[in-house]
Every structure is written in structure tokens, then in C-alpha cells.
Symmetry: C2
Subunit: 693 residues, 2 copies
């Protein structure tokens, strides 16, 4: 009997939870038992809200969440409303007042203080006292007697006194006494119509019949989710002797140099044991020799799978050492999460259902017809057996948690778009429930809607099309979409200049291209990354492909990290500016500026000042950093910049100081036509600030 | 025990229903038991969908519902999808194929055949056969052997044969036989790669793991919901002897004349018994004399309430007679639904909780401080007692159903914005469940979001701001919003030129104003209405207010319905054109055209031709009706019209015939610069068609 009753209670509880999530019903979905409801306030067009509340929006600890909505009801009475917020481990809601902006639009703000998933919603109720007071004063103004109204007011005060604590209760009690004492209607009106009483009454409304909107999800991430400079390296290729691999411990000597350049995240491709079966040779060839080291993406061997570290890297012990060394340099470690297996992975024998088989029983290689990837078995999320699928999800969660327990809080996820999107939604939510500090970067280079869906599913950061956006106008268009469209609510683009798989064709232009792409990556987004070798302007190409010759994926590389022509000073400068200027640490504060030129991109990042209550957008900006950059590495250009001066507090005709933030050199200017010469073989860019003289 | 088990089952069923309504879960709302799911296709940005699926969209029987969505999944396999539709009394879904348009956007169409509420959704699944076939052909093209692929194909054919009926099963069986017989890989490939087999396999997919979107609501109304010409009259004022009231039977003599003018709906203000207490006198004065007839909006007396007909109108019997007479003239009857009560209404004694009381126990009059309406008690939807509130909703539903049973299928609802919006959502859904033919017109003149919310709650038609849109540009802007924004999905504007409460100031210009406002109302929307007296160009004003002098609300009026200067011939012509031209019977097909002039509005209504698959908007139009109208009743204007010729199939340089649809006069034109003279004292408008010569 108990079991049955519990079952009823649980199902009923689920139904109630569901109802809470949905909030007050809309027209078509009104439940039959809503007959006679008093919860009749309409709350709609809530911002932010993604796809009708199906996905979480993202913010950072310390941010202020701005919430707005259309709120109205039948009749002409006044309303009041609050934003409600609670973290996923809290029972009680925090609340912040909303205010009527215009035309039934309301807005409110609440500060985000904890790195956790949250829910937020809106609750609105009738401002009975304010409505009554307005009516009273209108009648008094019209010379109408108000004995009935005063009697009503007294009842409302008595009811409020009973539910109100503290100082407000005293204020209400005083008003009641003042009515008692009043020797004329005029005195009584004065006793109940004051502003302080109004405020006290509004702070303590009867919310029994309030309408609550459905609950919406919000991820509040830590700062590193929004701001970071990533450096990717293959730990086995950090030696000084050609052909000689390094262990993780041996690779640590490089960290001081990376830290000195100002990077904040060191990201390692897979560090797990590498399979032997069908191991790939140099330059992705099929027949490896005995001394070929294999691709780290061929994960798994006798030595273990995704929860192990390759013996040739020094195993788990050296891994822990490396992670601590990274942290001692003030950086964080990120590792790769690539869901695939070499034929030698322990999963293959233990969980045959996780791999797709041909009718003859053999496991199918990864392929993209007619190409075949014989050293990798893709994992199959679609086995007929639901238990096998559930066990796979469980195992993958276990793998991530193993590394989280070992101190890894950042995962770069390989090819997430070839795994089910709901799997990512589940995995990320599961991990972040107990470990909200964990960051997931989506390495999806695929169709735009799929990339967006992965971000909506919960990825903290995302790779972008940056590498293939080269022209001025396409850069402007793409970054407007990333930072000013609805995408800014959930998609944080991490701009990689290059990756082990992407050696962009524009790098054929050599050093000037590396310079300009570094500046773009470091200033267009608060998140950017390079793959090692970038600082040395490496661009040797495998045939005519977008791939590196002698890719580190298949062989040990050795480099002179201080080779002539390197751009380490530039990267150091850029990372210094990013640390010094808070504006460069924010994501959605990018705004393009007008420029008269054919190749020059001109933009600024600044801190938002006061918000326009109508639009919720900043009405003014401060501490702006301007970037003007010639995006063509082959042709010098004189550009006339037209900074929007009034929005940073400088009049169109006022003089101001323009300071080059890299050199510190300043010049005086007046007006919004500023000539600059941007030469790819000299300085193709200018990063500057403007200040009133 | 049975009770408990039933309870478990019922609650669980509710949870499942709820899950169905929500469809496949999004990221944040993934239930814990989703681990390992195969329902991983993402379906989002569905159009049409209002406020995340909270409100029904509206269509008309015979319409084609166009549904589009972003549909995609992990990996690179092909997908397939259908639109699903069922009426609210049907168990089985109808389905129509969707097609990939572009960039993961899919679209499909399904014809609406029944006047009922419906639900629609989208179901998508992996096109396993198509994906397999693509891979096979790529490998064959690359010269790779495909024994494994052919073995897989055979298994897929066998599985399909087992689930497929009819001709497709035979086609699949033939393919299996052909593989058996094949004497080479080439022959086997030929046997399984044909287009007819592909179509048969796609018609019979395995949908066990299909993803279904949440269910969305759709009201399919009858034609009169979208197209109608309304005529409002006070039945007691249809006599020929001054001061003498008419009964409903006596008023029927007017119906032939109204039908001859081409109207389709005769709408009567409240016909219920009128209260005596605090009855209003002529011109809304406070002290009525014994022979004052009272306002029909002071509903309820000893003779009955909302379910009765005033004795002086002839009671229910004459009402039935009048309704039949309206229908005999080929028109429909609409009545008023005004939720308020005179102090003498039976509700006041029977249901005191439905009225708001002052602290001294007296019932509160309607008021809009400092104004008071002593002849009316507003109904209170907010009593503390939930049972009293539920009883009120029940009673109001009963009232509507009483009239529906008496043959009334159209209700004009008075001031719905002063009653809870969820009440209307409930009431309309309740009535339309068994009586989907019932039409509700919302008489709300209030803030824009409230007007929209009432339409979203389910009102079939809505009053608009038309009466206060006078300038060319504001008309253009307002009607673009009404017919081209999201509002077209749920809001059907019924353009009243005047009402008993609205005698617009622009009518001071006299007959030319009546002419031009008649043309605008009859051609901008498929729904329009006049209040009787309009055809006589009545504009006598109470003081400087927007109200009629000697308003029929408070006294008996007698008119000469054929008085000189009347515009009955114009109204007859306009209604004739509306009947003859299907384009004028549609609502969201209004498109403004360019015109060189200061006061002339130029637009067309046409029938949509083929749709652009990308936008879902018509790419061509046919049977267009053009209207050019000078909206200033005081100044003649020569306007140069610039009709968009190519969209109706006429080249920019081709000759065409321009036919005045009122006079039948035609002229030849060439090019998109057509001069017309629009004179308020002659003909201030031109309604015409264009046809290739």
C-alpha cells in the first residue's frame, strides 16, 4: 500500500513540478481545473528566454541579469512584479523589484552571485493599495466625499499589518492610529496617502493570488568561461632533440614561457594510451613503422582507455605533476574529450554493443565515404538495446568525473556534433550539478544551426567560423551575429587562429597574416586560442590542403621556440592589454564603428554604462578600447576612422587625447575623422583609447 | 485498491499527456530518465508558433497550413519529417510530407478540412535507407567494393518488407529478389539503388525512434470568421413614428434593405430586460423620467437577466422570429454579450458574491474615478471564495450556450478587457469544443498588448484602432502591423466605421468622409461593419465629444432610411465587389504599393500564387484588386500610382488594361506610373484591376 501511495505522490509531484516549470497557463493549455482562477495576470515576451524556455541562458558570476517582460491584466488597476532567482541547490527564491518601463513593458535586474545553475522567473500581482490610493486621490481632487474609500483603506491597512514584519509594520500601524485620530476627512486622507506608507504597503503585498511565469534556466559560470587565452600543445613534442619524445614532466619547462606570453589555459590533445592496430604513420599515412608514435586521437590500448594516461607521457603521476605545474604558473589545464576508440580500447571487448557491426560481425571503422579511418572505431549511440545505450552514457559521465576529481575543470570536446545533442545536454547538466565550475568547449565545425544547438545544449564555449572569415565585411557581419544577436545569450565563441587540423590558407601570406590574425582573435572576442607553432609563424602545408605538413598528430616535432621572426612579443602585448582592460574581458560588448576605407575593420570594446530602460541596451559606454586593423596582409591602407564620440562622453567638436595602448604614445585629435596608416609590413593595426582633454 | 490504481494511472496519464504537449525535451528540461535516448533529432523554430506554443494560431476551413522548422541531428545522415494534424475529436493523426528547403530548414503543407480546434506537430526520423544509399553510391563511384554495404541493404529491405503494406511491399520484395538473382556486384547495386525503391522505402520508414515536437494548437474557423460585413442596429428604433418603439418582429421590415446593401451579419446590442433602478435618461443624464426607455447595457430586471429578452422587444418568441427572418435574407444574427448587471438583475439577489461590496455592505457601482455609472454593477471575478468564482464562470458559460442552442452563432463581446483574460480563454475553448462554429468578436478598445492578448486567448475577431487612424502613413503602418506581422496568425481586425459609442471627429467633414471611410473599411480588411445611421451620414455630436447626440442607447430614434445624400448605393457597390472578388475576402493578403502623392493610400489585395519555399511567402499573386484612395476629405489630389506589375505577371514595359471595377470602364496603360485624380467632392478613390493586353 505504501508503495502505491508513494507512487501516486511521486507522479503527482512530477506533475506539479512540471506545472511550476510551465508557469501560469496560456490560452490553449488552460487546465480544466482553472475555472474561477484569480491568477489572471498575463506575463509574456520574457527576455531573456530561449526557444520558449527550453534552453538555459548563460551569464557569469558578478553579472547583473536583466529581465524584462510584457505584464498586464484585465482592468485598469496597477500591478507590481518581481524577478525571482534561485540556485539549483537552494529552496528559497531571492527577489528583485521590477518597474513599469513603457507600454506594459516591465524590467528588473538581479545580481548573480554564485557559480551554479539557476532558475529565474517573474511573479506579478495587483497593487491593490496603489490602485485604491489613486482612486482616492482622484475623487478627493474632484471634490467627491470618500467615506467608503477610507473605510476600505482601513481594512486594507489592517490586513497588511497582520502580514507585515518590522519597520513597515510600525509604519502601517501609525497610519491606522492616524486615521483613528483624524478629526476630518482631509486629515484622514492625509494619514493614508503618504509616499512612505505607499512604499511600505508595496513592500508587503498580498501575493496569495499572484501570477508566476514558468521557470527559466540560467547557467552562471565562472569568469574563465567568458575570458581566456588558450595555448594548445602536444606534450610529447616539447623536446630539444629531434625525434625524441617528451613526457609530461619533461614538457613542464615550456610552461614558464607560455605563462610569460600571458596565456591562461594550457590545452592538451588526448593524453591517453594510443592504439597499435592500424596505427597511422607520418602525414596520415596508412602503414606505420615500429617507431611511429601514432595519433593521440586513436584512443585506447592494453595500457587503458579514456581514464588512463599514456605510459610514454609518464602515466597519471606525471599528469598530476604537469597539472600542478600549470597551476603554479597561474594558468589552468584543459584536456581533450574525444569519444572514439582505437581497436585496442578496453571498451571494444567489454562493451561490443557500443560499436556498430557489419552484417559479418566485424566492427565498422569510422568513415566519411569513400574515406576510411581504420585506426578509429566511432562509438555508436544508437544500439537497439536501451540498457546498452544508458550504460554508455553512464560510462562517459564517469570518464569526465574521473578527470574532474583529478583536478581538470576544462574540457575541450572533440567533434561533439557527431554525438547526440541531447546526450551533451544531459552530460553537461549532470557534471555541472556537483561541479558547476567545469567548462566545456565545443569543437564543432559544422552547419550553423548544429553549432548553435550544441551551445544551447549547454556547451560553455564554442569554436567558430573565425578561421574562415577573412574579408572586412564578412568579419563585421559574423561578429555582429555572434555578439549582438540572440546568440550572445548562449554562445561564447572561442577564436582559435589555428588548430592541429586547420592551417588556414591565408597564412601563406606569412608573418603579416599571423600578426593581423593574432590581433583579431585577441580583441574581437574575450576568448581566443593558438595552437603552438603559431608564435613561430609556422605555415608549411601538406600538399594544397588546409593541413600542416609533418603534423604533430602523427610524429614528434622539435622547435626552436625563440626562432627569429617570432611574434611572441606581440602575443605578450596583446595578452597584457587583455589583462589591463576589463573591456577586452567581456564578450557581448563588441561594437563596430564607421570607417572610410576598403580593408580596414574598426571596432571597440567598452564597459556598459547606464542602460536605456526601454531597450535594456547600454545608453553610454566607458573605458573603451578601439581597434583599427587592415585585414589585408598584402596592401597598406590609409583609413579614416569615425569613432562614435558622444557615446563615450566626448562631444563631436571637443578635443580629445588618442593614446596608442601598445606604445603609450598619445596625440591630440578633434572630431570624428581620424586618419591612420595601416601597413602590413609595418604596423597593420592600432589599438587605442580616447579621453577628453 | 482499484481507486488507488486508477488514481496512479490517471496522474501518470496526465504526466504523459503533458509530455506529449511539450514534445521532445530541450537541453535544460531533459528528464532524468532520458539517459540513453534515441530520440535525438532537434526540431526548433517552428512556424507558426505563438509564445512558445502557449496560444492557438487561427486558420479557416479550406486553408492550407504551412509549417516550417529547423530540423537536424548529430552526424551527417539524411533525415525525413512530416507535419501531423488532428482535430480535437479525432484519435488518429493525418500527415503530410515535409521537405528540406535550405540550411536545415524544412517545410510542409497540410489542408484544413474541418471547422474544429486542432493540434499539429512535426515528427522527424533518420532516413536510414537514403543515407545508406548515398554512401553506397559514393563508394561505387570511388571504385570501392561494397559487399558489406549490400549485406546491410538486404537486412534493411527485409526489415522494411515486414512492416510495409500494399504496393510498396511488392516493390521491396522485388528488390530483394533482384539481389538474390544478381550475378555481379554491379547488378546488385542496380537492384537496390533505383528511385522508385527509394521512394517506397521512404514512404515506409521505421519511426520507432522518431522525435516528435510538442503539440501546438490551431483553431480552424468557418469562413464567416474571416469575412463578413456587419450591420449594427437597435431593434427598438426601427419604427416610422417618432417616439414609438418597435418590437423585434416589427423591426424585421428593415432586413430586406440591409440584405440588399450586401451585409452578411446583423448585430444587435443587448436585447435583455433593462433595469429600472438608476435608469439613465436621454443623452446619458442621471434622472430618467417614466417614459425613458433606458440603456440596453443596464441588463436585468424582474423580467429576467442575460438569458431573457426584454418584454418590450417581444420576448424570446419574437427573438426567434427575428433570427429566422435574418437568416431568410441570407444573413446571420450576432448578439451582444455584456457581462454586467443592473441593480435589478436576478443575479444580484441570487449571487451576492459576484458583486463587490463596500465596507458598509452596499454593492459598488461601476466607476472610473471620479465618474460613476449608477445604473450598472460590474461583475466581480475576484471574490475570495473560489467556489463563487467557479459558479460565476459556469453561469456565464451557461448563458452563452443558451443562446447557441437558440441558434445564435456570433457573439460580440462588450468590454472583454475588463474581465480576466484566462476566463475568455476558458470560455471560448469550452463553447467551441461542442460548437466550433461559434464566433466571438472582442470589443476591446484598450492598450495594444491587451488587445493582442484577448485575440491570443481565442477571440475570433477583434475591434481595432481603425477609427482613429486617419492619415495616410499611419493607416499604412497600422495595417502592415495587423496583416503582415505575427498578429496575422491570431488577430482578425473587424473595421467598424462607427459604433453607438464612437462618432469619430473626422466625420465632421461630412459626406466625403463617410465615403472614404466606407471604402477603407470595406477594402483594407475582409471584416468590416457600420452602425446604422452611417449610410445616412449622421454625425450630430454630443457637445465636443466623440459621442452621438440623442444616442440610441438612451432613447428611441426614427430615421428616413432613404434620406437624400445617403451612401447606400456606395455600400451596395462595395459589398458587391467584396462578394465578386475572392481577394477581398482574405485577410492577410493586403500589400501596400508605392505611390507618388501626399495623401493617397495605394494598396492591393490578391490571391497568393506559388509560394517561395524559403520564406513561405507568396512569390506571385493573381486576381488582384487595387485601391487608390485620397484619405483627406477636403483636398483633391493627383497621384502617380506605381503598381508592382511583375508580381502579377505583367512586365514593366508591357501594355495592360486597367479596369475600374465600380463602373466597368477600362483604359490601356503601360509602365508603373499611372496618374489618377482623386477628388473628395467627386470620386476620391479608384478600385481597379489590371490585366495583360
Amino acid at each position: 500500500m505504501t508503495t502505491t501511495r508513494d507512487s501516486v505522490k511521486r507522479v503527482a509531484q512530477q506533475a506539479r513540478d512540471e506545472q511550476r516549470r510551465r508557469g501560469a497557463p496560456g490560452a490553449a493549455e488552460l487546465p480544466a481545473d482553472a475555472i474561477g482562477t484569480r491568477r489572471t495576470i498575463i506575463i509574456e515576451r520574457v527576455q531573456p528566454e530561449l526557444d520558449g524556455g527550453r534552453h538555459a541562458v548563460k551569464r557569469i558570476v558578478g553579472d547583473v541579469l536583466h529581465v524584462s517582460a510584457d505584464i498586464f491584466a484585465d482592468g485598469h488597476g496597477l500591478l507590481d512584479a518581481v524577478v525571482l532567482l534561485r540556485a539549483d541547490d537552494e529552496e528559497a527564491w531571492r527577489q528583485a523589484p521590477m518597474r513599469l518601463v513603457d507600454n506594459d513593458r516591465w524590467a528588473g535586474e538581479i545580481r548573480l552571485e554564485r557559480n551554479r545553475w539557476h532558475r529565474y522567473t517573474i511573479e506579478a500581482w495587483r497593487d491593490e493599495w496603489g490602485t485604491w490610493r489613486d482612486g482616492l486621490l482622484k475623487k478627493v481632487d474632484a471634490g467627491v466625499a470618500v467615506p467608503t474609500e477610507l473605510a476600505e483603506g482601513r481594512l486594507m491597512l489592517e490586513a497588511a499589518a497582520a502580514r507585515t514584519p518590522g519597520a513597515d509594520a510600525r509604519r502601517i500601524g501609525q497610519a491606522l492610529e492616524a486615521i483613528e485620530r483624524a478629526r476630518s476627512e482631509k486629515q484622514a486622507v492625509a494619514a493614508v496617502s503618504g509616499g512612505e506608507l505607499l512604499a511600505a504597503m508595496r513592500r508587503n503585498p498580498d501575493r496569495a493570488a499572484a501570477t508566476r511565469y514558468r521557470e527559466l534556466d540560467l547557467v552562471v559560470d565562472r569568469e574563465a568561461a567568458r575570458c581566456g587565452a588558450w595555448y594548445e600543445l602536444f606534450p610529447r613534442s616539447q623536446g630539444r632533440t629531434p625525434g625524441e619524445a617528451t613526457t609530461l614532466k619533461q614538457a613542464t619547462w615550456r610552461l614558464a614561457d607560455i605563462a610569460k606570453m600571458g596565456f591562461s589555459v594550457v590545452y592538451l590533445p588526448p593524453i591517453h594510451p594510443i592504439g597499435l592496430t592500424n596505427r597511422k604513420g607520418r602525414n596520415n599515412t596508412l602503414n606505420a613503422t615500429a617507431d611511429d608514435v601514432g595519433s593521440p586521437y586513436g584512443i585506447g590500448s592494453e595500457a587503458g582507455g579514456h581514464d588512463a594516461v599514456a605510459p610514454e607521457l609518464g602515466g597519471l603521476e606525471e599528469f598530476d605533476h604537469f597539472r600542478r605545474a600549470v597551476e603554479e604558473q597561474g594558468m589552468e589545464l584543459a584536456i581533450d574529450f574525444a569519444i572514439q576508440a582505437s581497436p585496442d580500447h578496453p571498451w571494444v571487448a567489454a562493451h561490443p554493443q557500443w560499436f556498430r557491426r557489419a552484417p559479418d560481425g566485424s566492427i565498422k571503422y569510422a568513415e566519411n565515404p569513400p574515406k576510411r579511418y581504420q585506426d578509429i572505431y566511432p562509438v555508436d549511440f544508437y544500439d537497439d538495446d536501451a540498457q546498452a545505450r544508458a550504460a554508455l552514457w553512464d560510462e562517459l559521465r564517469r570518464i569526465v568525473l574521473v578527470w574532474v576529481e583529478r583536478g581538470v575543470k576544462i574540457f575541450r570536446v572533440d567533434n561533439p556534433h557527431t554525438k547526440p545533442i541531447p546526450f551533451w545536454a544531459w552530460l553537461i547538466r549532470e557534471v555541472q550539478r556537483d561541479h558547476p565550475e567545469v567548462i566545456f568547449l565545443s569543437e564543432a565545425f559544422t552547419r550553423p544551426k548544429v553549432m548553435r544547438a550544441l551551445a544551447k545544449a549547454g556547451f560553455t564555449q564554442s569554436y567558430t567560423y573565425f578561421t574562415w572569415r577573412e574579408q572586412r565585411d564578412e568579419l563585421r557581419e559574423y561578429f555582429t551575429e555572434l555578439t549582438s544577436s540572440e546568440m550572445r545569450e548562449y554562445f561564447r565563441g572561442n577564436l582559435f587562429t589555428n588548430t592541429p587540423d586547420i592551417n588556414p590558407h591565408h597564412l601563406d601570406a606569412g608573418r603579416p597574416a599571423f600578426v593581423l590574425r593574432s590581433v583579431l582573435a585577441a580583441t574581437l572576442s574575450s576568448l581566443f586560442g593558438i595552437y603552438s607553432g603559431w608564435e613561430l609563424c609556422e605555415n608549411a602545408r601538406l600538399e594544397d590542403r588546409e593541413e600542416y605538413l609533418h603534423s604533430e598528430k602523427y610524429e614528434i616535432r622539435v622547435r626552436d621556440w625563440d626562432a627569429p621572426g617570432n611574434i611572441k612579443p606581440l602575443l605578450t602585448d596583446l595578452n597584457r592589454l587583455r589583462r589591463e582592460h576589463r573591456a577586452l574581458q567581456l564578450y557581448d560588448n563588441l561594437r563596430f564603428q564607421d570607417v572610410t576605407a576598403g580593408r580596414t575593420l574598426f571596432y571597440r570594446k567598452a564597459l556598459p554604462g547606464e542602460l536605456d530602460p526601454r531597450t535594456g541596451e547600454p545608453a553610454a559606454w566607458r573605458e573603451a578600447v578601439y581597434v583599427a586593423i587592415n585585414v589585408d596582409p598584402s596592401v597598406p591602407e590609409r583609413a579614416i576612422l569615425h569613432p562614435n564620440l558622444p557615446e563615450i562622453g566626448i562631444g563631436w567638436d571637443e578635443p580629445y587625447r588618442m593614446t596608442d595602448l601598445l606604445t603609450g604614445k598619445a596625440r591630440s585629435e578633434r572630431g570624428a575623422d581620424v586618419a591612420v596608416d595601416l601597413d602590413p609590413n609595418g604596423t597593420p593595426f592600432l589599438i587605442f583609447s580616447l579621453a577628453p582633454l
